[in-house]
Symmetry: D2
């Protein structure tokens, strides 16, 4: 039996604010700039002097808050918000965050970006002891751990709970009198702290949210750290010292917004350097560079500058496609109807094209784009990928398909090149990737998690361990 | 009294198809690729063996057809569709096209892109004779003229009507047994003909629609031409020989999609050449090139290549902004909340930036972007516009604000530069523009209408004449 | 070939007000009480010092104005409104009234309740002369006649137009400086005038609207009359003296609301008298009286009182059924799932029931209700109809199905009784109907149109004449 | 400090089915007939061979299932459903039932009609032990008790939990392999069992649901009983023998549908008998009887028959009012705009009216209706209430306002009569009520709970005890 990693869990975005009369509105605008991190659902929870109110629903943020009253009712000076990634599974509103836990004596909210590796064991144990979960999400577990902790102090309960969960997590917790942010011991997920001119404190998955609301970046949250916003301002605390930075390299490669800085590195600039490095590693002849819009445009800029080849708009993405309810039928698709991407024959006709993309997952998209470019008249299409070959799943919060579906887990570069119909295929080297990103750290792999490329996970895999090892035995690895 | 040109009328997009069992669906996909030409409303009218059915509504195409039944009911093998630009005025569904005219003996549909210059006179005359209009749009006039023509033949009536209306127009008319496309004598608006592999004939405002549905371009419709699709295939006819090509240069500058070809010229390529030419005309020192997304990215590519400066992603447009129902309040805006565009400080900090934009209308947007860049740390911002200064209104179908509101109609380049807070301001020359586009024609101005830049209109202005002359007397022209 | 009278046209409701700062809101509340007269669509047109604004859409009034902004934008001190009946045909928003006609020099609105008998001829003639209609409704014709009239005076044009149209009509016309109500020469449709305590003038299809807005009834509009509301208050005028009252008896029988008064007669009271008279004409033995809810409850009260039998709630109508989007499938229906009406076995078991209904159209509903009652344990079901047998179509504004579908046009009373499975069937006599209503008039048939029962139409049938006579030849009439 | 009973909790409706391929659809139709029991929200949970799926939302059932896909996805042969009453408080979807509890090893659903009297104590205790509740509803408590029970057997856990909760409850629980219904030891809430022709078993708050889906009534669930539907058919079990029937008399008075039978008594018939008894207790002279629609029409029938006075439709309820989004402003209300109820002056003018209503809560509605009738011309209005004076709150599931707001808790009959502006006021006696209902039982008060009228509660009040006694001390009771 082959091992199938089912839609591993979600990548998401979180945002929190403390000390601003328009807390919920600013959370809205902050989340709006994080919308690329999750489109399945969104929610905001606000705290008005101890009264927590929430609105959440499935859909884009703008749909969830189409009725402005749903935002206006969220009064108060602190708030947390969440955007949720579209997983294949259950799009139930029960799973949309922030979660709100109400007790007879208190209440608190919780938003989570990441994936726990020991969620299944913890959930089993808790249920055996009478716990009832209101969602199928792992994110609720922390609340149960906090409530069941026998540690006498409030912060003690929270630290105990944070030391119990394993994996990747950036948590925001909104209590009646404080907002707490916590990051996992490897800092797998990005999380930054900022300040507004009126003194309000903010925390966000990405710094692009700070630009949007006019906040100034203070610093990124450290692995194993607890950051508390309350009436005393910011307090930094730790729940563990056993930490080592291993931030998700996919954030730099395709996930984060180009205007965000992560660990002090601007994402666009990192991508441009990856493109330039890719140009240096590229061994073929070509006439023009064409980036696949929108995520590969930075890398294409870097490749073009380094190679001296002209950078051209040889592929156009229809900006309105995202919300289209009517799709071509299979029949129409076969007749050539395509909605998302067009190749510009006026640009690529008669040219040898270097097609730059950020990554290849199953290979089907790459094959389709190569075909588009050739039909539009490109004489050669050389595919250059601004990251190494993606051959292993992620267990820390990015939804990478099963190994079975990853083309690089099952095929050599040459085979992949043939499958996608390209004239050549070049991946960026792992070293090239690490150098291009260039975080200022002494941690291994330049402070990055590159397990998707080399299968070396920075932590034990807990509940995933056994099944993962099985899967490796059943497949030949090419990397 | 100053003359105010009120939101002159709409720029729109039209699409038609003849001879395909999925006519309405293909019209949907065709219109989808024309969505950038109009977001106020959309409609499709299909002909099922003489029975015309229509669905139209305000909103984006995907909203208008959110319920798939509204598309499925549009059976038949021919169809026309329309997307409508958001004018300031009345967003009534009555004004959404295609219009459907039903008579006891027949029925026909009409879609119009453009603006008539003698609409007011014609409407007055018709109303004096008992005509009742169902919309406030000028587009209905043609139907009244056809129905009231005393010419004995069907085509005679249509030609008579087309010779009566003046200005810019691309009409699609769907009759029970034919589809007719007609273009004004100057070819102000683009209109192209294509063919699908099954023999179906298509006509579209832009060729990008052909890419999407897998159709092949045949040729553009000529000024003064009538193109008939019916059971005999295509027939070319003319309603006048008094023609001269003067296609709208703004289509190349900012309106059309980069993957469209107009008069044989690819729009992206033309823009890139404008950028390159702009680089040659630019006289200042800078470190990096930053295009204003999305419309100026082609010009920025051309500028960067020609100048040798690196092309950087110094401005980010939030791709989700378009459908957001909640906007920052004035108070929040003053606190720095901005939703549409962010400057990337990691990219522009400490740099002398050439900011490339396609045009300046009122100057307020340019001032805001210059400010964003400087706040993000740019040491100098040199604004370079990939078109000449916009100083005169359009009467042929593009909604350019009143002269009063056009900054270049009221200020010198130096004054404008100061108003927008730039370190320098460079406009592309009119000659540079014409050369960059490079249509293969002997017509004056290279076959382009450049009246927005030089005030020399290729036709009489009819109903607009008097008010236009008044407006000139009241203002000093700087060009 | 048999003659099929296709969904003859609509029954509707109109309301108008002049001289109140909340004109549109009061029109909303007035129309709300007229909602039973039409559920397909609704619209309101308001006049704010010469600027006419309108909102209309398909659906119930409350759905059309779900967004309160659509009502709030209708500022001004006069307004007209319309609710439209659900016809089988085209539920297009183009057909929803009031119509709004905009000209370069003026504008006016129009709302119509009724049906024209010469619409087809007039439309043909107008179209031959170049007219274009924006709807498939007959109601627009009047506007074209007014605009094309060569009569030099404004009121002259209107009178000429009103003398040209034939059939049943109650028109409301809202001009920039006046509101005009006009009724056909037979007064087929009800139309009443009222006054509010602040002096505002109102006009409505039914007086129940006056109760709702706190207005006082003045009098009903006379046949052939024109009533003008303007700055001078009310003016009464006439466009013809060739009149004779023949108000639709179906208004009393089932259409109007029981709390309305028509021609001075309260509808509930008239129905109760019909029930009492029906009891006198009824020849059978029974234990209890059961009215079919809701329209037959008044008649059941009258029948019970006159007969001395107890009036029981043996049938229950689900009050929430009307807006249910999910209907039982055929399979579920066969298994006994029924949503609209339930028989109360606790009430009817072991009883001989007189089932009172207002009318029988096709007989299918009656058959179903008889079956329900018998399944619930009724030992006998005697059907007593509080109106005569419906055997002829209506051409003046009520949507009575074709003769072919009218059970009484094709079957004797005995046959009908057998078809519907009743133990006896009794219709009210035409004389009994006329006496029960008892309008204070000398006009024939007590001022009522009873053509549905005796086939004697009070006017020529114009466009319907020929086809109607044909239909009679093909069928045996039983009355 | 006065004791305020805040919107005590909800009255709701439940429906369940076992063994039918269209389980969810039949639940829809069953709930549809129970819609009068709750309009705030609705939900259905279906069991497809162990997989539980649910859809729930705020609004009417038809709104919740406007999109038919939400019903179609609920496949499986068993289902439970719930309609929820509009409480003043939180209309959050989290509180909409059925609840769905998912565990790693199993899952089950729960729907609850009633109110627990020891909810607060139980919740405190559970939370102290780490429980987290996902709603603010009391209904979830049972699930926590079941999961935490140490009883080794499945049924043992359930029985233990049912013996722990106190108050009024009708529970439906849907497990992977069975559906369990349970009723509280006093049978406060109605719950009946039925069977369809294909053998499917059903359970419903009211028997009217059986009529709608064509099911046959078997019997009502007994107090303290557990009814299990599974592959073996029906099993009857008990969790306690300490029971005594005290069914809510308000179900007969106004809450249940007239076509339902409760404890073998038809609701319409009971109401008619209450009306007849009220006529015998009534001591005044009058001309006509007018029932307040719709809930008092049965009582009015009985009163009219017993008294010999004619029963008239003197008040009309607008059937469309319920879903209107636009309400008269205060200003318009003062001008006389009223949407819900109209008095029919043609009926009541000059008459001495007996106005029959089912109950008086605050008196404000009665005062308004008396005023309406007098303004419409009634010379005298004698108010006759078909139930005793409502002077005490309910703790078992009906939302009766606080004692402070109950007019009969604070005023004598004479004072009340004066406040509502009536010429006389007559309440039905408690004995008259009990006799009119006439359940076949030896239990005290004829098996009814009449605590609202006499303050004698059939059980201890637990969490409510202390506050209730306080409230009594502060007010003078008049009954």
């Amino acid at each position: 039996m082959t091992y199938e990693v089912k839609s591993l869990n979600e990548e998401c975005g979180v945002f929190g604010i403390w000390g601003h009369p328009d807390a919920a509105k600013l959370t809205y605008f902050g989340l709006h700039s994080l919308q690329h991190r999750g489109q399945e659902g969104a929610g905001i929870l606000a705290n008005d002097q101890g009264t927590l109110r929430r609105h959440r629903d499935t859909g884009l943020l703008s749909e969830v808050f189409r009725n402005p009253l749903n935002l206006e009712k969220l009064t108060g000076s602190s708030a947390i918000g969440h955007v949720r990634y579209a997983t294949a599974g259950e799009a139930s509103v029960d799973n949309i965050q922030p979660f709100l836990f109400r007790f007879q004596d208190t209440q608190f909210g919780l938003a989570h970006n990441g994936n726990l590796t020991n969620a299944q064991s913890l959930k089993s144990e808790l249920e055996k002891n009478g716990a009832i979960f209101s969602s199928t999400s792992d994110s609720e577990i922390l609340a149960h751990l906090i409530r069941r902790s026998h540690n006498p102090s409030f912060m003690g309960k929270i630290k105990e709970a944070l030391n119990t969960v394993k994996g990747g997590f950036a948590y925001l917790m909104l209590f009646e009198d404080k907002l707490i942010a916590a990051l996992d011991p490897n800092g797998f997920r990005p999380l930054s702290i900022g300040k507004m001119s009126n003194g309000a404190l903010v925390v966000s998955s990405e710094t692009c949210a700070f630009e949007v609301i006019g906040a100034e970046w203070i610093r990124d949250v450290h692995p194993g750290e607890l950051v508390i916003f309350d009436e005393n301002g910011i307090t930094y605390d730790r729940y563990t010292d056993d930490t080592q930075l291993a931030i998700c390299s996919m954030e730099y490669i395709y996930f984060a917004r180009p205007d965000s800085n992560i660990q002090g590195v601007n994402v666009h600039t990192a991508r441009k350097r990856m493109g330039a490095q890719l140009a240096r590693e590229f061994k073929n002849q070509a006439d023009i560079v064409v980036g696949v819009p929108n995520s590969s445009l930075s890398a294409a800029m870097g490749f073009a500058e380094e190679s001296g080849l002209p950078n051209e708009m040889g592929l156009i993405k229809n900006q309105y496609v995202q919300r289209t309810f009517i799709q071509p039928t299979q029949e129409l698709r076969e007749q050539g109807v395509r909605m998302k991407l067009s190749a510009v024959s006026g640009v690529v006709k008669g040219k040898r094209v270097v097609m730059i993309d950020d990554s290849i997952v199953r290979g089907t998209t790459s094959r389709r784009i190569v075909k588009l470019l050739k039909e539009a008249g490109a004489t050669e299409v050389h595919v250059a990928i601004a990251s190494p070959a993606l051959a292993y799943p992620c267990f820390y919060g990015i939804d990478i398909q099963s190994r079975e579906e990853l083309i690089a887990a099952n095929h050599t570069v040459e085979e992949t090149c043939e499958i996608i119909g390209a004239d050549s295929l070049t991946y960026l080297s792992v070293e090239g990737l690490i150098d291009s990103i260039g975080i200022d750290t002494d941690a291994p792999n330049g402070g990055l998690c590159v397990a998707y490329f080399d299968g070396k996970y920075p932590t034990p895999l807990y509940d995933y361990e056994e099944r993962y090892l099985e899967s490796l035995n059943e497949q030949t690895s090419f990397y």
